[in-house]
């Protein structure tokens, strides 16, 4: 297990206070924008994301989660495109039979920039968006309530399954299960890990569904919420600006 999974960081920064729907719009527009944007705009977008993470006080958490994702991706892109995308055939570096192609490196760097924007936007969204408020706001906008619940519950399911998997692995190793070595050993280990994990998850799900039912999850009629969500002028302005930005990039691509 590689440490704790990335999760919501409670705070009261201006980024945290944005309406969850605004953050969904910004996330979608960031992903589309990063894909469409020329390099200078992409750089500006990356700077804006880094600035927002810092402003929200989640810079370190986002950085810690991003590095293990981005470093292998970056190295892989550089190796694959740098060595095998020859383009116009301009060599940047040649050592024996290995040649690093200029065009390939440029492509790898720009694609890496796009992926970095995806990852940063996603992590910023997860670390600054209160899951329950997100569920409430999506329901208010017409997303089926049960779908909203499944989305939020699945965010919590991952760390829970990680903890259980760790316990199961400990228990099976204590009974002499060898998790290393031959493929047969590894397959046996996987069965011994996955079976209790799945059976445990099914039992938990049955209890949980019963508890939810008893507490009125399926009841008909209006709902209320602990949280009253307000859409500020800043929310409206950011949504309009983000959509216009994407429209402008599409137009730029088309002309």
């Amino acid at each position: 297990m590689n440490g704790e999974p990335v999760a919501y960081h409670p705070d009261d920064s201006v980024v945290h206070r944005l309406h969850p729907v605004t953050k969904v719009v910004l996330l979608v527009c960031c992903i589309l924008g990063a894909y469409l944007a020329p390099v200078p705009v992409l750089l500006a977008l990356l700077a804006a994301l880094a600035g927002a993470a810092s402003l929200a006080g989640v810079g370190r958490a986002v950085g810690r989660a991003a590095v293990p994702i981005l470093v292998p991706l970056g190295v892989g892109l550089l190796v694959i495109h740098g060595l095998f995308t020859k383009g116009a055939g301009v060599a940047l570096l040649a050592v024996g039979p290995v040649t690093l192609w200029r065009e390939g490196v440029l492509y790898a760097v720009s694609f890496f920039g796009v992926l970095t924007a995806f990852v940063l936007a996603g992590l910023l969204f997860v670390t600054t968006t209160h899951p329950k408020k997100l569920m409430v706001s999506l329901t208010e906008k017409g997303v089926p309530r049960k779908l909203g619940y499944v989305f939020v519950a699945s965010l919590q399911l991952v760390p829970d399954l990680q903890r259980r998997a760790g316990r199961i692995l400990d228990a099976q190793r204590s009974r002499g299960l060898d998790t290393s070595g031959s493929p047969r050993n590894r397959i046996l280990a996987l069965v011994a890990l996955l079976t209790p994990l799945l059976i445990g998850a099914l039992i938990s799900t049955r209890t949980r569904s019963l508890a939810l039912e008893a507490r009125g999850f399926s009841i008909e009629g209006p709902r209320s919420s602990l949280y009253s969500l307000v859409e500020s002028p800043l929310d409206h302005a950011l949504r309009v600006a983000a959509v216009l930005g994407v429209v402008a990039l599409v137009a730029w691509r088309l002309v």
Partner: protein, 571 residues
Amino acid sequence: MSDVYVDSVTFVYKNTEEPALREVSCRIDAGSFVGVTGPSDAGKTTFCRLLPGFIPNFFGGDFEGSVTVGDVDTSTTSITSLGNAVGYVFENPFDQLTGAATTVLEEVAFGLEQRGVPSAELERRARAELERVGIVDLAERDPNTLSGGQLQRVAIASVLALEPAVLVLDEPTSQLDPDGTDAVFDAVSRIHAAGRTVVLVSQDLQRLAPRSERLLVFEDGRLVCDAPPREVLDARSLGADRSFDDAVRVPPTVDVGRRLRDRGVVPADRPLPLTVAETVEEITRHAEVVTTAIPNSDSVPDGTTRGSSVDPRIRIENARHVYESGVEALRGVTLAMNGGCVALVGHNGAGKTTLAKHLNGLLRPTAGRVVVRGTDTRTASVAELSADVGLVFQNPDDQLFRATVEDEIRFGPENLDRVDAETRVEAAIEQLTLDSVRESDTYELGRAARKRVALASVLAMRTPVIVLDEPTAGQDAAGVSIIGEAISDLVAEGRLVVCITHDVEFVRAHADRVIALSAGEVVADGTPREVFADEAVMDEAGLRAPIVTRVGEALGLRGVLHVDDLLERLA
């Protein structure tokens, strides 16, 4: 207020043949506190599932008879509607939460939100329920960071928020430590005092009996006794040929009370004591206490070493362990263990499980060293060390995965490539009385039996050292007795058994040596009599001494470990 009527209910779960309940009838008066007890798989949980309509609305099967809450027939009313009348708290504190709340307050408000309670009222009502169960200070905490006892009280507050007249709790403390158990029982007592009907299932009659107005005892799907606790526990009132001692865990105070009556110290017609205070009161009223010192004739058995034996099976030298999170779970532990039954005690987070995981190499010391039968654990794999140390974890569901009980037990010896695997499997099945279920699917067994299967699968490995994490948690009287006998057999064979446990009565009966941990350090190491007599250590380790020791202390006698110690000093 709603009386509950259960009338001639027989229920057979889908895909099973034997009824889980047979002709059960009873009435639960509004505002009463009813305890439910009996052996594992006797029908207690099935009975509880009747009240909120889970049976027959969620669990399918053949249902006969009727259940009414107030004037509502549960078989024709939805679970959601019944949720307003009957609140249900499950055994597992974690699984019953919504899994979608980031704070305790959100969790408790969930049911109110579903019913459209005005937003202005939501927070006030949720906080009021948290106040009622004594955890309002946890309102902003993430439920995933709470202890089992705290989570169980969150679950109680969550169902209470819907203001049900009846609260049903199915073994809510079987997975909790003593502090968590006391907190849940205290919260339930307050809820009952405020006028609600409480139906509580537990094997812990020492806590349940004094609070209950009536005890319902189930056996083999039948309600075999419905009477006030003192009558249930007093064979004379039941008729000479009937006793429930084989079906329930007799509270230690009742055990002491019976011995006092058998010896003629206390008049035989006096009601049995259910609390320490009642026991002390009847002794001071009817006997004179001779406060002579109790000789400490106990000793750790031959071969059990505390520090410097030449070649003990387990040697721990100044071991420290710091987790990645920075938490220092062990702070320089030095121990030697060679034989006998060693109890590791201490409150949650004291370092007991961390220490146990060092014994088979699941964890390696950050500093210092752990040597198992001459091998430094840093130089061997867990698979290699598993031939020397078998470790059984608390939750059996974290390991069982094969189709039948017999096959599951075979897993350990197979991993060790033992040629006599079948002989070992047979011996373990016999030792834990699992012969009647050897062909059964492990997940069709109750949790207590599943736990014995997990234990058998490790015993079949025949390791010289066996480590058991909370072996008696959730066991009925028969289960505790079977596990106790198995441990005695292992010790008699010369093996070292290390038990992590909060069950001080089990320690009193079976352990030769007690090691108390607190904040990652050993704070006491001695015989049960020595450790239990040390009040400062018991406080530090978050433990309460066995009942008979507490009775002795209240009478001015230190070091009482057995009822005979007490009786010898009464005139």
